[in-house]
């Protein structure tokens, strides 16, 4: 349905533009005074053509409620965007199969896709397009990268359109915005939670780490993730920081870094790369130096290190034992979802992009049930006040948002590469396997 509508819109534009161009052609013949003026007119009318294209007619169809998904579908981040789309489509199909929004007489949800592209400017343009051309939207989800979400929500906030996001940045919900709802724990919160959780996992394996090394690249997310650790967490837990290295991606050679790790003999290594090639270099070198495959436990942050793409460049053995702290992950209780994702889209496992976006659609559906009408303001109000009980798809906490728009008690998930698959090992209620913790 979406495709048909888009095709119509595409067919509409050139027709209007064509008329404008023909008109310009006639004027050209008449006025020969100044070519410059002509060019001005062409530019003018071309832009006018844009303005004249009417937005799609507003169809107030009570049997259908539109929900937006503003994610990167092209460019550098198209792959995560595509996975987010899978999660959304699965949710929408299930919601509709279960009878749609009951309070709205079984109205079906309809997904409106918008491509946020690969730049902040494109993301903001897409958001402008979303609010201008889809006035019927009741809520949206997006936009993967924090900077895209920041830009897009500047638009949705002004348009009063509630937006759910899986982005981590604390800034997203520090701006006093009223229409943004952050379902993941913020990066600041994740950084605070991660170290105690990792120590808990180690303790469960009857091991108590005393020395830790940190290697991080100099990107925003990485730096902010290790900051609370260095500032107070390590001290509080009585752990010594024996190595603290920051590098600028991409690495040419990881040998010096890994040699330092070997010399420092840490009990675990926090390693925060953003670029896959950096991850590969360091992990390969660790293996070469006899520290790989969990002999020095490696802990990362974020989902990049657990994407299926990792296996294209790295052998599963190199990744064995590598852990990562992520906002959410396909876990225990999501087996049917993971099976459907595999069957329908051939995705080997369910990353945060899929599960969080899947969950977003359900949250919107629940908010619609509470709002009782297909109205964005009512949905926003419902999101602000609802308490949907313990969270099923996001780790920890409840389906409830505080006054900043942050999900109350949002937790994190620890995943670990085991035999070529990143599986959830924490929290216990979601864990699909026991964490492997080598004691050297």
């Amino acid at each position: 349905m979406l495709r048909v509508e888009a095709a119509n819109a595409a067919a509409g534009d050139p027709a209007v533009m064509g008329a404008v161009v023909r008109d310009v052609g006639r004027r050209k013949m008449m006025s020969k005074r100044s070519l410059v003026r002509l060019l001005g007119a062409v530019a003018l009318l071309a832009t006018a053509g844009l303005g004249l294209v009417c937005p799609p007619a507003r169809a107030q169809n009570p049997s259908e409620v539109k929900v937006g998904l503003l994610v990167p579908l092209s460019g550098l981040y198209a792959r995560p965007g595509a996975v987010m789309r899978m999660g959304a489509e699965m949710a929408i199909d299930r919601i509709n199969a279960q009878g749609g929004v009951k309070k709205l007489g079984g109205a079906k949800l309809k997904l409106v896709l918008l491509d946020s592209g690969d730049t902040t400017e494109k993301a903001k343009n897409a958001a402008e397009r979303m609010v201008a051309q889809e006035p019927d939207l009741v809520a949206a989800s997006g936009s993967y990268l924090s900077s895209f979400t920041l830009a897009a929500t500047e638009v949705t906030e002004r348009a009063g359109l509630p937006m759910l996001t899986l982005s981590y940045s604390d800034l997203i919900t520090s701006r006093g915005f009223k229409y943004i709802f952050q379902t993941s724990a913020t990066s600041g919160s994740q950084a605070e939670q991660a170290l105690p959780v990792i120590v808990k996992i180690a303790n469960a394996a009857a091991f108590s780490p005393k020395k830790v090394a940190i290697i991080t690249d100099n990107t925003a997310a990485s730096i902010s993730s290790v900051k609370p650790m260095k500032e107070h967490l390590l001290k509080e837990l009585g752990i010594e920081l024996v190595l603290d290295e920051t590098f600028t991606p991409p690495l040419a050679d990881a040998t010096p870094l890994v040699q330092k790790v070997r010399a420092a003999r840490p009990d675990m290594l926090f390693f925060l790369p953003t670029v896959i090639s950096d991850a590969k270099l360091v992990l390969e070198k660790m293996n070469e130096f006899g520290m790989g495959q969990g002999r020095v436990p490696v802990i990362s942050f974020g989902i990049a290190i657990a994407e299926p793409d990792m296996l294209r460049t790295m052998a599963p053995e190199l990744l064995q034992g590598v852990m990562s702290a992520v906002g959410s992950w396909g876990s225990k209780g999501h087996e049917d979802l993971m099976a459907e994702l595999k069957k329908r889209y051939n995705e080997p496992w369910m990353t945060q992009n899929a599960i969080s976006t899947y969950a977003d659609m359900w949250v919107i559906k629940d908010a619609l049930e509470i709002a009782g009408k297909a109205d964005r303001e009512a949905v926003a109000q419902a999101l602000r006040t609802m308490d949907g009980g313990p969270s099923k798809f996001y780790p920890g906490g409840r389906i409830k948002f505080d006054d900043k728009g942050r999900r109350v008690d949002a937790g994190l998930t620890i995943i670990q590469w085991q035999s070529g698959v990143p599986v959830t090992v924490f929290p216990p209620d979601l864990a699909m396997a026991q964490a492997i913790w080598s004691k050297k």
Binding site: A6, A7, A46, A48, L50, G75, N125, A126
Partner: protein, 604 residues
């Protein structure tokens, strides 16, 4: 003002644009209207440096980003309004331009472009390191207007239109003053520009300072429009590329180029993105890329120039009107003394009489001049005097060091030893434009016209050196054009001229600088028989007007009837010096360089 009058078409465009902006209520189209203007303005800022000087900058994102972060950080940390911060950003941009230009202008061509690439990349990492990976402009719910946060996006578009108008106006001011002329001259031929008396470093620094200020102001406004600033979104490669793309597409070196480029490319890219992005992800970039490739192939200099060339071919009247009105506004050329002289030209002298024999004090005195290139001693201990009002001919076979001597005389090259005295003052060590200012004009063996400019403008470049005002420069240029007999062709483009006319034009450009001594490098080369005679006539008449001339030439036939004295060079050293009769009869010269044919001619 001339700039204002010439911008009438732009004001029509701006008024129409504003009208459309006011009608459009759809916020998405409105933001498109704003972005077109933003990128057009950015293209214009790039154009001021790269379009006019030809020094391609791949690093304009450096200025853009500085501006964007000025707005963002100024508002976050100091709670200042963009109304203040945008002008402040322009000041920072100007400073950055100066700081960047100073070391980078030592480089030329592709090395300059690559060096410029480094600045935004370095700044990108600096801002990441400073912890400014993502900053947003705080929303001002109480006083939005004071912080340029208008709920009605039409106001943004109008602000952007004001920004663009400012940029266009500044550009046009530059274009129509000696600033723009100097930049265009640098672009087309830096050596010729220096020889014409233009201090190229000074003008280039001014250009990058202005360009940096403009780019930075645009970046500052972009932050207001986008509200989110990340290092990649303002210092990234794509930002620098955007400036190049809109300008190259629309047309380099004209105010219209970036405007046309942005007006077509920005909406096209966005429409493709919106309509196709979710159907076949990525296809929009393929189509966009192909469209640009096709246009660049069809119109390598940009849409504007292609359209203009087509229009002129179709409506030739536009050409005459256009050039005359834009480039020769003061048509007073007939009023200056040169005008009359022009009409008396060209006349071929029938009898050949040499200039006064007695000239006790030489105007130019060259002593012991030497220059080596590695092991090659190109010029060895060359000495000669040129009395005022005489014509000296320098002859010798290829590689004898003739042009090298000229390059030593006018400051292109620094001699290893020796002195060059003009009226007793040593010129050695001075830069070419200073030598020009001192009174040494020159032309080139390989002609170096500024092809895209009219004859009058070509000559005008040379006239600035001794003209305090632009009007005086125009008068001097018109005079010089008249003296060489090109008055009737003043409005034509240099690219349309014949070799003879180009030689005359170069001569006029040198004359316009009011030289005391003129260095002519193979001025007769490539001319037909009659044409050479005409040129000889012009040169002689200049000498009769009191000008001192040194001429390098192969064409012996014309030379013997033109010069007062010869200096004959052999492998960098003076072989002999003397009158034409003496030289052409000297057996060594005849045998070694000229052959028996010339000896026979000279004796007949």
């Amino acid at each position: 003002m001339r700039a204002l009058r010439s911008l009438a078409p732009f004001f029509v465009f701006a008024a129409g644009y504003a009208a459309i902006a006011l009608i459009v209520t759809n916020s998405y189209y409105q933001s498109m209207l704003t972005l077109v203007l933003v990128w057009a303005s950015f293209g214009l800022s790039w154009n001021v440096l790269s379009g006019y000087t030809g020094l391609v900058s791949f690093g304009h994102a450096a200025f853009f980003g500085i501006g964007a972060y000025t707005t963002a950080l100024g508002q976050i940390h100091l709670d200042l309004s963009p109304w203040l911060l945008i002008p402040a950003a322009a000041a920072f941009g100007a400073l950055a331009g100066l700081l960047i230009g100073f070391p980078t202008f030592r480089l030329r061509g592709v090395y300059f472009a690559l060096a410029m690439l480094a600045y935004p990349l370095a700044l990108l990492y600096v801002f990441e390191w400073l912890g400014y990976q993502e900053v947003t402009l705080p929303m001002k719910r109480e006083t939005p207007a004071a912080y340029m946060q208008f709920a009605d996006q039409r106001i943004n578009t109008l602000l952007a239109l004001f920004l663009l108008t400012t940029m266009v106006f500044v550009t046009r001011m530059v274009e129509q003053s000696r600033f723009g002329m100097a930049l265009l001259a640098i672009k087309q031929n830096e050596a010729a520009a220096q020889a014409a008396g233009i201090d190229t470093i000074k003008w280039k620094l001014r250009a990058i300072t202005l360009s940096g200020a403009m780019a930075s102001a645009v970046g500052a406004f972009y932050a207001v429009v986008l509200l989110v600033v990340t290092p990649v979104s303002v210092f990234g490669m794509l930002v620098s590329a955007q400036a190049l793309t809109v300008t190259l597409f629309g047309g380099v070196g004209t105010v219209w180029g970036p405007v046309i480029g942005a007006a077509i490319l920005i909406p096209t890219a966005e429409t493709l993105h919106a309509e196709l992005g979710h159907l076949v992800p990525g296809i929009q970039n393929v189509i966009y890329g192909l469209a640009i490739v096709i246009l660049i192939l069809a119109a390598p200099e940009g849409a504007f120039w292609k359209a203009r060339d087509l229009a002129w071919r179709r409506w030739p009247k536009l050409l005459a009107d256009g050039v005359a009105s834009s480039n020769l506004p003061g048509r007073e050329e007939c009023g200056v003394p040169g005008g009359q002289r022009a009409r008396s030209h060209p006349h071929l002298p029938t009898s050949h009489s040499h200039a006064p024999a007695a000239a006790p004090v030489p105007l130019l005195s060259v002593g012991g001049l030497s220059k080596s290139f590695g092991g090659l001693r190109a010029v060895r201990d060359v000495s000669f005097d040129v009395p005022a009002g005489t014509i000296l001919g320098i002859i010798g076979p290829n590689g004898a060091g003739k042009t090298t001597i000229f390059n030593l005389l006018n400051g292109f090259l620094l001699p290893d030893g020796g002195q060059v005295l003009l009226d007793g003052r040593n010129l050695v060590g001075r830069r070419p434009h200073e030598v020009c200012a001192a009174g040494v004009g020159r032309t080139f063996q390989v002609m170096r016209p500024f092809a895209r400019m009219s004859v009058a403008d070509n000559v005008l470049i040379g006239a600035y050196i001794h003209a305090p005002t632009d009007d005086e420069a125009r008068a001097l240029a018109a005079d010089a054009v008249g003296r060489v007999g090109l008055a009737h062709s003043a409005g034509r483009l240099a690219s349309e001229l014949t070799t003879r006319e180009l030689r005359l034009m170069e001569l006029a450009r040198a004359l316009a600088g009011q030289p005391r001594i003129l260095l002519l490098d193979e001025t007769l080369a490539g001319l037909g028989h009659g044409e050479a005679d005409e040129m000889v006539g012009v040169v002689r008449s200049l000498a009769q007007d009191g000008l001192t001339i040194i001429i390098i030439e192969h064409t012996m036939k014309a030379m013997v009837r033109l010069v007062d004295r010869f200096v004959v060079l052999d492998r960098g050293a003076v072989l002999m010096e003397g009158s034409p009769e003496a030289v052409t009869r000297d057996p060594r010269v005849v045998e070694a360089y000229l052959g028996k044919k010339w000896a026979a001619y000279a004796q007949s």
